[in-house]
């Protein structure tokens, strides 16, 4: 059906047909000149000529009578008036606007897919082996220890601070809660106290305490990952693996090693 629509001549455009003849690949055409003569039915048009259409020339100028003496009586005037003014300098062109961070194209290393075991290289949890969940809209990686095994909660990290291993957990049964996104991990800054209240230099120390929501989500995600590990049949070794910190011995060079 779509073909029939495409074949219909569109407004203002002539329908383009395919050439009947084609190259066989070695510079020889499928049909000879004689065959094409019949295919195109050229014999119908031999000796016939279509009469040429005579297009009348439209006048560009017009001759106008001019009054007054010593004016030459007539003037040729352009029918289409020229522009009355031209710019003296080039206009400043508008530059294409730069893309915001939110519009940047996110890139993810091919070796990182959901379920990949990552080795963290930065932050308070560096050296830990964690499970990659997904890439967030900001481009950061969402990882999880799981918290139950190695104490690394659901958190974000940039992929530059991570070694991807070839070990993977089957994450087909894991479904992340909808509310876990970049907004979820945003830091909450408390507003500073007003001047009049006591010493302005007294810095209030607030200890981070995970919210009730986070605790619930953490438990949920942990249980899903633990289930996925159990299904793989390597529960004991995988648990021990995730619980163990990564380290290098002598004569071990990370750039020469396979992960």
């Amino acid at each position: 059906m779509s073909n029939a629509v495409a074949a219909k001549p569109q407004e203002g455009k002539k329908a383009q047909g395919k050439p009947r003849n084609y190259d066989l690949g070695n510079g020889i055409n499928r049909f000879s000149r004689a065959r094409m003569f019949h295919k195109k039915a050229i014999y119908k048009f031999l000796g016939k000529t279509t009469p040429k259409k005579v297009v009348e020339k439209k006048p560009v100028t017009v001759e106008k009578q001019i009054g007054g003496e010593k004016n030459g009586q007539t003037r040729t005037v352009l029918l289409k008036k020229r522009r009355s003014s031209y710019p003296t300098a080039d206009l400043i062109k508008k530059r294409p606007s730069k893309k915001c961070f939110s519009q940047h194209v996110r890139h993810l290393r091919a070796s990182i897919v959901p379920g990949t075991i990552l080795i963290l290289l930065a932050g308070p949890h560096k050296g830990k082996r964690v499970v990659f969940m997904k890439q967030l809209k900001s481009g950061l990686l969402l990882v999880n220890g799981p918290f139950l095994i190695n104490g690394c909660p659901l958190r974000r990290i940039h992929q530059n601070y991570v070694i991807a291993t070839s070990t993977k957990i089957d994450m087909s049964g894991v479904k992340l809660p909808e509310n876990v996104n970049d907004e979820y991990f945003k830091r909450v800054h408390e507003k500073r106290a007003k001047k009049e209240e006591g010493d302005i230099f007294a810095v209030k120390k607030t200890k981070y305490v995970p919210s009730a929501q986070r605790k619930v989500d953490q438990k949920l995600v942990d249980s899903m990952i633990v289930d996925a590990i159990k299904k793989s049949g390597e529960k004991k070794t995988m648990f021990a693996y995730l619980a163990t910190m990564f380290g290098l011995r002598s004569s071990q060079y990370p750039h020469r090693m396979k992960f």
Partner: protein, 146 residues
């Protein structure tokens, strides 16, 4: 025992450097002090010159006339069963082990470490048990291999 591994026609050598690293070739002719004409029909190395600094000599030697053609070399190679003999050597096994170790992933290395720990614990325990027995009988007991 006199020195027996010479740079000579028919000597099988291990390529230690370059794009053919890890393959075996046979020396066909000696060009000069530093270079030899080699041929590796089994490893598909075309006949050509190679620097002796890139070759490690093995204990194997084939019998064929010097400057023998590739066909002659291949025939001698197959008759000498070099591929099989090479695989049985400790040298080849070490090379294979090294390759295997390099190919291990992070998880494999972890599992290897755990397995080693278990083995060493067993061994230490066995050793102390033997030591205890030896101390009791006062006469030194020859430790049996576990």
């Amino acid at each position: 025992m006199p020195f027996e591994r010479f740079v000579q026609t028919g000597r099988v050598a291990y390529v230690s450097h370059g794009s053919n690293k890890g393959k075996l070739v046979a020396i066909v002719d000696v060009i000069d002090q530093n270079r030899v004409l080699v041929d590796g029909p089994a490893a598909k190395i075309p006949r050509g010159q190679m620097s002796l600094s890139n070759l490690h000599l093995t204990k194997f030697r084939l019998k064929f006339p010097f400057t023998g053609s590739t066909r002659v070399v291949r025939k001698a190679w197959e008759a000498g069963k070099i591929e099989r003999k090479w695989k049985e050597t400790v040298w080849a096994q070490k090379v294979a082990a090294k390759e295997k170790r390099a190919a291990l992933s992070d998880y494999d290395r972890f599992k290897l470490r755990k397995a080693k720990r278990v083995r060493n614990a067993l061994r230490t325990e066995a050793f102390y048990r033997l030591k205890k027995v030896a101390k009791k009988s006062k006469r030194p007991v020859k430790p049996t291999k576990k």
